[in-house]
């Protein structure tokens, strides 16, 4: 497979001259429709969240004050209040949630990396048939319900769960361990759920790697662990970055896992936001929580976008 353009430094894709109307319309349609959809249903909502984070909660439907009033002849911008943000900065609960979420997400990402890297490496080095089977086995859990897999851990970790029963039957412990509703359970849940997201990008990078580089290094006298540190690890960096961001960013805002597996002090911001919204019915406050969370993840997301670009 070769393109008839070996001598181009850059591969431009536009023809450059003005297209006939038919073709211009097609182009605008193909670009415009998904773009518009995303602007309307993905980007614009963030603006609304920002806006409502400045409103006051009221008992009404919807439960917040309007920020833009058309009622008079002149429309007014009513910046209702900074109260929500003030509240967030004063109440420790939220500070702790944010920091804890970042911490839990970071540690989970690290564990995923430590567990997932050898697995990805092993799969990349396997023979093609074995490789496909192993990949299928990695992907398979991902296609089954995530909720149910977290639920599976509830069954394993509970006081009456399998692990405790086994340990008690073997006489290793006398009374059941508290495993469920702890931070440890949350770590376990996150790693368990997100590890395919770490393995797949890592595998993609490792599989593309040129093994003759390893042979060359070995030929020059490098020991296996040196080869790994000097050759394999740096070259697999794109995969490491992609995989880590694919785990870290969503994990920060994770709700289900802390809700089902975490204890009352396993405060993650996703859960805090959800409770603020559904339990307290305080939409503006929830919006403020979301806005801050959005600002926290925006930079990692841009890093992620850049890592995706570089792969093009």
């Amino acid at each position: 497979m070769s393109n008839s353009q070996p001598d181009l430094a850059v591969k431009p894709k536009v023809m450059g001259y003005s297209l006939p109307l038919r073709d211009k319309l097609w182009r605008q349609f193909v670009i415009g429709l998904p773009y518009f959809w995303l602007l309307l249903f993905f980007l614009a909502p963030f603006v609304i969240v920002l806006k409502i984070s400045f409103a006051e909660p009221i008992v009404a439907l919807p439960p917040f004050t309007k920020l833009f009033d058309f009622s008079d002849s002149a429309s007014r911008w009513v910046l209702a209040t900074w109260d929500n943000y003030r509240f967030l900065s004063e109440d420790n609960l939220y500070w702790i949630s944010y920091l804890k979420s970042i911490k839990i997400a970071a540690i989970s990402t690290l564990i995923c990396l430590l567990v997932g890297y050898p697995m990805a490496y092993g799969i990349a080095r396997a023979s093609p048939t074995t490789r496909n089977i192993l990949l299928m086995l990695v992907i398979l859990p991902f296609w089954t319900s995530f909720l149910l897999r977290v639920y599976a851990w509830m069954g394993l970790l509970g006081k009456n769960g399998l692990i405790n029963s086994l340990l008690m039957n073997m006489g290793l412990i006398e009374s059941p361990l508290q495993m469920l509703y702890t931070d440890m359970a949350v770590y376990l849940g996150i790693v368990y759920t997100y590890i395919p997201f770490m393995i797949l990008p890592l595998y993609a990078t490792l599989e593309k790697m040129n093994t003759s580089l390893h042979d060359a290094a070995a030929d020059l006298g490098a020991k296996p662990w040196q080869i790994f540190l000097d050759v394999t690890l740096p070259l697999s960096m794109p995969g490491i970055i992609a995989g880590s961001l694919l785990v870290f960013i969503p994990a920060i805002g994770e709700y289900v896992i802390p809700a089902l597996l975490g204890g009352l002090d396993s405060l993650m911001i996703g859960r805090t936001l959800y409770d603020e919204f559904f339990v307290n019915r305080d939409w503006p406050l929830a919006s403020a929580v979301a806005t801050i969370l959005l600002f926290i993840v925006v930079i990692p997301i841009m890093l992620f976008q850049r890592s995706q670009q570089e792969q093009e």
Partner: protein
């Protein structure tokens, strides 16, 4: 086996065991006569019977399937268009933002997407009167929005590894851009579109957080029902449901992998 190979091998074993043991236990206990998982009461299908008699679960499952199929189809269409727009259409104003809008949903925490979409629907309702009420429709829109990003990534990846000269040849022979897209490009990316559809279907079927935010009265999806049940603890009829889902998906995946494997083999024998 040398030391590092042994390490890799044991990591693989440990890793896969870690992945699969919870699932296997889940399946095992769906056949447990006893309601308490620590006690094995004998083999029984009672939970399966209970499951089939549970109207709430069946209704929500049907709703979820409907939403999943609809959103997957539209997500595939929009995602493919986005994939084409980002790889085939060259440079244009706003392209950079577009790439961001496609990358972001892949990692954006669901609570943010869910909350923001809900507030968007509420604002739209105030402004233009639509959506009148939230429910299956708004959930579908939400699912389309994040699924299309996944489809776009899959399509993009396939397009960038495709021989560019095929489309140029079609153009050279007189095909206008739209004709080339339907004659050449789409047939060649069809497998990726199918993968995208399946992925979007799964993501929709499985989604809890976003559905919770964007749903309305009377529209409970399967994950929502399951979640409310399991919040209180383990209930074995959910085990039965899990087994059914896992079983169906596994069979589907094994068949798909086997078919793909055969097709790849066929092509590689004939190609140089």
């Amino acid at each position: 086996m040398n030391k590092s190979s042994r390490f890799i091998f044991s990591s693989l074993c440990f890793g896969f065991a870690f992945l699969y043991i919870p699932i296997l236990v889940l399946i095992l206990y769906s056949f447990n006569q006893s309601a308490i998982s620590s006690v094995w009461g004998g083999f029984s299908l009672r939970w399966y019977t209970a499951l089939f008699n549970n109207d709430q679960i069946i209704e929500s499952a049907l709703l979820s399937l409907k939403i999943a199929a609809t959103s997957a189809t539209f997500a595939t269409i929009l995602g493919t268009m986005a994939g084409l727009a980002l790889t085939q259409m060259g440079r244009y104003r706003g392209r950079f933002l577009f790439t961001g809008l496609i990358a972001a949903p892949l990692v954006m925490p669901e609570v943010i997407t869910g909350l923001s979409l809900l507030l968007m629907f509420v604002s739209l309702q105030e402004l233009i009167g639509w959506p009148v009420s939230r429910g299956a429709g708004t959930i579908t829109i939400a699912h389309i929005t994040f699924s299309m990003a996944y489809v776009a990534v899959i399509v993009q990846s396939r397009l960038s590894s495709m021989d560019q000269s095929l489309q140029e040849a079609a153009m050279d022979l007189g095909g206008r851009p739209m004709q080339v897209a339907f004659d050449i490009t789409l047939p060649l990316i069809a497998p990726s579109m199918l993968s995208g559809w399946l992925l979007a279907f799964t993501l929709s079927l499985d989604d809890l957080v976003i559905a919770s935010f964007t749903s309305g009265a009377g529209a409970s999806t399967l994950p929502m029902v399951i979640f409310s049940k399991i919040k209180l603890g383990v209930t074995p009829d959910v085990n039965a449901l899990a087994t059914l889902i896992i079983g169906t998906v596994s069979i589907g995946i094994v068949i798909a992998s086997w078919m793909m494997f055969r097709q790849a083999k066929r092509h590689s024998i004939i190609n140089d």
